[in-house]
């Protein structure tokens, strides 16, 4: 049927013909993989964020703290389950379940590997697939919103309600951008089934440039970079992760939608969040990073894309995507709600729409003019991309002109870096400042004093202890003759 047809590559006809115990093994396998990935992701997140903040992170339970999340999960399960008096009991009980089940179901269409042999049965390493495979994931993520929204509403409390309102608005907005970003992949792959999308990224396009023949990249992340970037941003909003973690903003909403939840119900919400993270990472690997197929230097080896090896490549890609999630959390501050919504509706969605138009035009061109995909990408896509990037660079430079001038002023020793054209209203009721005293926050955001000297560490100040057994005082600590506590407990 397709040029990339090989015995390892499953087609849609391969699905739905497994023996019942193979199906059972796959179901249990997917469940186990998701739970283990959740435990792993939590430890990874805590360790990585700790490193980024120059801490050590969990290091008590298990070798190098690797079992910390398991211990936390067990502790959570044995905690008291609190039902708020004002809660809407059936909905309060259902909400975590509604959040968790779609998270598990969505992973069932993710291809983990090629056709392998399990106890003598040839079967694809994927629970199931359908012609609409990716739409199943979108539908399940749409259902997952209910869990969060209902959980916040049923708690009968203000902060959870605010968090759930935010999450409803946020997840719907970013789901639109996410769905639009995937459309270009559908156009290129000619299918909505996950296994066929992976198959479509199997071989690069032959591009001949000035007489040189070489194979272009086959990953959709390279062929459709705009789609990939939009997808990456949108799924961060979709999974409520920092810097888009407005529904559970702990400094504004205490905990957001799960403020009133405890014990296993809270654990289910936690589980659902991390499974969603794993699922969108796996979807990113499937749609944009070549799925379970080995990346370039490894793919030279013939056996890289057969047998059980692809499982390794797949999970390496997933862990790389998870690391980006954690990296974002460790780097970026949370957005304000209005910035967040403006970004989603006024940047992501229009860009995605225009991009779909461009991709569709290029597809039509390549078909009409009988060019290969690689040639179109090379002769049309690259110049357009260069133009757009130039435009963006110039636009960003002119938009940040004031900030840049202020930064130069500050670098040249200016103390009162002032906005040349402050577009702010006069401070409301600013009569509190005594006249004449300069304020460090004049004209912008407050700056710390630049002439501070870091005081010497108190540990260096510690004097040698008198060890000759002399009785010092009567027990009342009136004379500080020896070292005192540093208070660094």
């Amino acid at each position: 049927m397709t040029p990339w047809a090989s015995p390892e590559q499953p087609t849609l006809a391969d699905f739905g013909q497994d023996v019942w115990w193979i199906v059972l093994i796959k179901v249990v396998g997917v469940f186990a993989v998701l739970v283990l990935m959740t435990l792993f992701a939590i430890v990874l997140e805590r360790k990585v964020v700790a490193r980024m903040q120059q801490r050590i992170g969990p290091n008590r339970v298990g070798p190098r703290g690797s079992l910390q999340s398991l211990a936390d999960g067990l502790k959570l399960a044995f905690k008291e389950d609190i039902m708020p008096a004002l809660a809407d009991k059936p909905v309060y009980f259902l909400a975590p379940v509604i959040a968790t089940i779609p998270a598990f179901v969505a992973f069932s269409v993710i291809p983990l590997g090629p056709v392998v042999s399990i106890f003598g049965e040839q079967t694809p390493l994927q629970l199931t697939d359908a012609p609409i495979g990716v739409l199943v994931i979108l539908a399940m993520s749409a259902m997952g919103i209910y869990g969060i929204v209902l959980g916040g509403w049923a708690s009968g409390s203000t902060y959870p309600l605010l968090g759930s309102m935010r999450s409803a608005a946020q997840m719907i907005s970013y789901e639109i951008a996410m769905g639009l970003s995937i459309v270009a992949v559908f156009l290129y792959a000619g299918s909505m089934s996950t296994s066929e999308i992976v198959a479509a990224q199997a071989d690069g396009n032959e591009v001949s440039l000035f007489g040189l023949e070489f194979t272009g990249p086959s990953w959709f992340a390279v062929l459709l970079p705009v789609s990939f970037v939009i997808y990456a941003i949108a799924v961060v909003g979709e999974t409520n992760r920092a810097p888009f973690d407005l529904p559970e903003a702990e400094s504004e909403l205490v905990g957001g939608f799960h403020t009133e939840y405890s014990s296993l119900k809270f654990a289910l919400f936690f589980l659902a969040e991390y499974i969603n993270m794993v699922t969108v990472s796996a979807l990113a690997a499937t749609l944009f990073l070549g799925g379970w197929r080995a990346p370039w230097p490894i793919s030279i080896w013939d056996g890289a894309n057969s047998g059980w090896w692809p499982l390794l490549w797949f999970f390496l890609k997933v862990v790389a995507a998870l690391f980006v999630f954690i990296w974002l959390r460790g780097t970026l501050p949370r957005l304000r709600y209005d910035q967040f919504m403006r970004f989603g509706w006024k940047v992501l969605v229009p860009v995605a729409l225009v991009w779909i138009l461009v991709v569709a035009t290029m597809r039509t061109l390549s078909r009409e003019a009988d060019l290969s995909t690689g040639q179109v990408a090379l002769f049309v896509g690259v110049p357009v991309a260069v133009l757009v990037l130039l435009g963006l660079a110039v636009g960003a430079r002119s938009a940040n002109r004031d900030t840049r001038l202020m930064a130069e002023d500050a670098a040249a020793g200016g103390v009162h870096a002032a906005d040349p054209e402050p577009d702010v209203l006069p401070p409301a009721g600013g009569g509190r400042r005594p006249a004449g005293t300069p304020s460090r926050s004049e004209g912008g955001f407050p700056v710390p004093p630049m002439d501070l000297v870091v005081p010497p560490s108190p540990r260096l100040r510690r004097e040698p202890v008198a060890t000759d057994g002399a009785v010092v005082g009567t027990g009342r600590r009136t004379t500080p003759t020896t070292s005192q506590e540093d208070g660094d407990e």
Binding site: V149, E175, S441, G443, V465
Partner: protein, 284 residues
């Protein structure tokens, strides 16, 4: 496939139907009968989900997915969004404001259902049955052809209806925005960004200090204390007479009285009395 042989229902399909059919019906009834608006919406979600699964079972996976994504995922969430704003405890009143309204509504509803059912039955009575393969046969079987078949119909035969529906929805959305938009002269009201920048131009970009928390008072009237023992003027609440908090009596702890041995009058200092006596002062 001949028209007569077309009606073959597999076991799986029958099982799914007899499980989800009653559920869908229960959802519909629950939607009408429950008092709480959010519960009604949830019952409706159940019905819509069941319908989506029905589509998938009947070899229309694309329709099923779209049913779940669009209806349950987007439209019902928006409903919930509005219902949650109404308030949690606003349940329907059981008092009839119009006399005989329920009886009339029941009768009219049954009449409407009969009318629509009869109309559809009459219209579809003598239609020739083509069969699934005849409508959406694709390279991967009738299931896989579902997407292409729908796309071909939507973008050729029903293109006008499709475009007009899209235009109608856009106009409705823009119209709703226009109606709810309040006209303000530009610059007359500062947004979140302007407010934030204006706040940073004052001497206090952060929030005001809270009232004090003492052993004997946690009221908002109790002012917060500065490190030097003075009263933080900023923490005084407006409209409330500030209350001076009496300090707690002098403590009887080790800090005031020294070690327990000293308090009891023992003469010989113990190891723990000597600072640095135990492990070189590092008692942790």
């Amino acid at each position: 496939m001949t028209p007569d042989a077309a009606v073959v229902i597999g076991t799986g399909e029958a099982v799914v139907f007899w499980i989800l059919g009653p559920l869908a019906l229960a959802g519909a009834l629950g939607m009408v009968l429950s008092r709480n608006a959010v519960h009604s919406a949830l019952w409706l979600v159940l019905t819509m989900l069941s319908l989506g699964v029905f589509y998938v079972v009947q070899s229309a996976p694309f329709l099923g997915a779209v049913q779940i994504i669009v209806y349950t995922g987007a439209i019902m969430i928006l409903f919930l969004f509005v219902l949650m704003l109404v308030g949690r405890d606003s349940s329907d009143s059981v008092v009839e404001t119009l006399r005989g309204q329920r009886v009339a509504a029941t009768l009219l509803g049954i009449g409407f259902a009969a009318l629509v059912g009869a109309g559809i039955a009459r219209a579809t009575q003598d239609l020739p049955v083509v069969g699934l393969a005849g409508v959406q046969a694709g390279p991967g079987g009738p299931d896989a052809g579902n997407v292409e078949a729908i796309a071909a119909l939507l973008y050729t035969r029903y293109l006008l209806a499709f475009e007009v529906t899209g235009a109608l929805l856009i106009v409705a959305a823009v119209g709703a925005l226009v109606f709810t938009q309040v006209e303000r002269a530009p610059g007359s009201r500062s947004g979140q960004k302007e407010l934030s920048r204006a706040r940073f131009l004052t001497d206090r970009p952060q929030t005001l200090p809270g009232p004090g928390v003492y052993a004997r008072a946690t009221s908002v009237a109790a002012p917060g204390m500065l490190p030097d023992g003075g009263i933080a003027e900023d923490s005084l609440a407006t409209g409330i007479e500030p209350q001076r908090v009496e300090p707690a009596p002098r403590g009887a702890g080790r800090h005031q009285l020294g070690s327990p041995d000293a308090a009891l009058g023992a003469l010989d200092p113990t190891v723990s009395d000597t600072p640095g006596g135990r492990e070189g002062g590092e008692h942790r």
